[in-house]
Symmetry: C2
Subunit: 166 residues, 2 copies
């Protein structure tokens, strides 16, 4: 068997079928399926999903997207950063370092990373070197974002004002 590696997943019916095994399967995947069925996107389109195959089975995945510097309210100086979500390893394959492989892949872009952790996953993210962003209500609302920064990058003292008390 080939060595395990992280690869970008293409959007096709096979991939979308494999996604059903993941607990975080949701609107995003359903929307991809509809777009594929309606020929809005082509078979084998690039996706924001990256995953790890074990033999022929997709056993871990995450979504990774680049947010442009002008929308950056987290990092100092403001810059392009990665939003990471839906990191998940199938139950039978946990404890083998697949989650870390995915996070290391994300870090290899050498851009700051932001994620919104699932409840009870803080231990994992802490081991990965992520820390809580200083909570800013106008920016974060219901989120508890965690961030990771490459050397030389700091956290913004954000004073976002896109929302207010009712």
């Amino acid at each position: 068997m080939e060595p395990m590696k992280v690869e970008r997943l293409v959007i096709n019916f096979k991939t979308l079928e494999e996604f059903k095994q993941f607990k975080n399967y949701g609107n995003q995947e359903l929307s991809m399926l509809e777009d594929l069925q309606s020929n809005i996107i082509e078979n084998d389109s690039v996706s924001p999903f990256f995953g790890i195959y074990f033999g022929n089975a997709l056993v871990a995945r995450m979504s990774l997207y680049k947010v442009e510097a002008k929308y950056d309210h987290y990092f100092d100086p403001p810059q392009d950063y990665l939003e990471l979500w839906k990191l998940e390893v199938l139950p039978d394959y946990r404890g083998k370092g697949f989650g870390k492989m995915l996070v290391d892949f994300a870090k290899s872009y050498n851009l700051p990373i932001k994620t919104n952790p699932r409840i009870n996953s803080h231990g994992f993210w802490e081991k990965m070197g992520f820390q809580k962003a200083k909570y800013n209500m106008e920016r974060d609302l219901g989120e508890n974002p965690l961030i990771w920064t490459p050397e030389g990058v700091g956290e913004q003292e954000s004073e976002a004002t896109n929302s207010q008390n009712v």
Copy 2:
């Protein structure tokens, strides 16, 4: 006992102590506590939290914040809308309509509402008249937002472009 009602919660040590009973206690509450301890905010400051007291005990709460029209990527026409989060009823007080009281209170502003539901809460939100926003990856990333609209308000055909494939 007085009739049950939804009231705005003030930020003080008593309220923050009561918040600890809620499962969604997180960075937001810790940040409020720090601000109070450091005299960054005053005792009894207004908060985005609304709640229901049963006798002297806070038994249900939610956070409600207004997002300005210029940041609205969900509704048509774009307008001020409410972001609702941390809706939670303490276990012993569920099934008594307190969740609905909070949502009805939010609806009484007659503004569209957006929320990001917790897993397994879709049944509740559906009963409250919320429906899934059409998933837009560039806008929603890891979220599966639900929306409610007052009469005459539609959903935006959003083409947000603040992020991109890596």
